[in-house]
Symmetry: C2
Subunit: 236 residues, 2 copies
Amino acid sequence: MPEKRTLPLWKTWSHITKLDPDKRISEADLKAVVESGTDAVMISGTQNITDENVAQLISSLTNYKIPKILEPATPEAVQYEAVDFVFVPLVLNAGDLEWVVGKHLEWIKNEKSKNHAAIKWEKVVPEAYIVLNPESAVARVTKSKTELTPEEVVAYAEYAEKYLRLPIVYLEYSGAYGDPNLVRRVSEALCGEASLFYGGGIDSKERAGEMKKYADVVVVGNVVYSGMEMFLATVL
Amino acid sequence: MPEKRTLPLWKTWSHITKLDPDKRISEADLKAVVESGTDAVMISGTQNITDENVAQLISSLTNYKIPKILEPATPEAVQYEAVDFVFVPLVLNAGDLEWVVGKHLEWIKNEKSKNHAAIKWEKVVPEAYIVLNPESAVARVTKSKTELTPEEVVAYAEYAEKYLRLPIVYLEYSGAYGDPNLVRRVSEALCGEASLFYGGGIDSKERAGEMKKYADVVVVGNVVYSGMEMFLATVL
C-alpha cells in the first residue's frame, strides 16, 4: 500500500546533503556532515554509480540515525535496506520519454521478475525534476530542454504539483548557482502541497539563505568534497 | 488548492457513459441515458471536437443532476462551467512526450495567459491511459505503443498507481472489446488506491458484466449511438 501522504517527513526538512557514491569521503567528514544539522543525507550521483559504491556509502552511514534517502541514478538496482526513502526522479523537461516513464517501466518490470526483490513502494517517493543547467551531466544524459522561459518553468512546476499532485518539485541546477528570481516565481506559483527543492551551487551561508527564502528545501552536494567549512556554513 | 484525495466521488461509480460531441443524440435518448442508472456522463471525443459542439452537448445536459465529466480531447479550451469534473488524460504508452507532458504544458501556459480563464484545479483529475487498440483513433493520434506484453501493461499500471499515485488507471480499447484476462491481471496488480477504468466494445450485459468483474468502472460509449436497448443492457 502506498504510504499516506499526510505529514511526509520531508515537509519538516530545510536542508539535505547529497553524497556521491563515486567520491571518497573520510569518516571524520562523514561524521561532520551527519552532525552538521542537515536534515537528511541523500545518496545520489549521475556518473560511475555502481551497486558496490552505493552499498559502501550506505554501509558507512549505518550507525547514524539521520534519515537516509537513496536517489538512484536510474531506477534500477535499487537497494531498499538501510535507507528510509527511495526518491525516484522523473525529469519533466527531459528530451525523450526515457526519463519520464521509460526507465521506470524497466525498473518495475525487472524488479517483478526477480522473486527476491519486490519494490518497497512505501519507501518510494517520486520527485519531479526540472533540470535547468545545460552544462550539467544530468542535463546531457536526459537531453533536457533547458532553454525555458520563466512561464514554462512555472508551468512545469504546476503540472507536477496541481495536475499530477506529486509531492516534490525539484529545481536542479546541478553544479551551477541558479536564478533566485526564478525560484521565487516557482515558489509563488505553487500552492504549498508540493515541497519545492532547490539544488545547485550552494557553497555559502549567503547562497543557502537566499535560496531558502523561496525553496522549502535546499540540497547541498559538491561543497562537501571541496570545503567542509563552507559546507557547514550552508546549514542555517 | 488541490482537492483532498479522500473519498473521491468516482470511487462509488461502476458505469460511465461517454457522449461524443461530434455525434447527434436526440433529447429522448439523452434522457434515457441519464435515467438509465449510469453513474456519470463523460463528454469526450477524439475527432472533430470543437468549442461549439462541446458547449452544445454540455448545454443539453444542464437540467440533469447526473455528475458531468468533461474529458478534453486535448487539454486546451477546457470549459469548467456546468461540469463537475475535468478528467485530463495522460497517455502512458504514447509514442512521444506530447501526450504525457507536452500538451498539458501548453494548456497550463495558455490558460495562465488568459486573465479570465484560470484553471479550476479542484475539478481537474488526471487519468493514466494505457491505449491498447492499435486501430483506434486515439492510438494513431498519440502514436501509442500497443504491442505490449501483459507484464508491460501491468508495469504501466503500477507506474501510475504506485509510483505516481494517480487516482485513475484507464485501460482503453476504444472501439474494440479487450482481453478480460489482461484486465484481470492489471486488477490483481493494483492495490486499490487507483480506480481501474475499462473502456472499449461494451455493447451487452454480458460484456459489461465480464469487465466489471475486474474493472472498478466500465465506460460505455459507441453503443449509445448504435442501439439504445443494447446500451441500457450494459447498465447492471
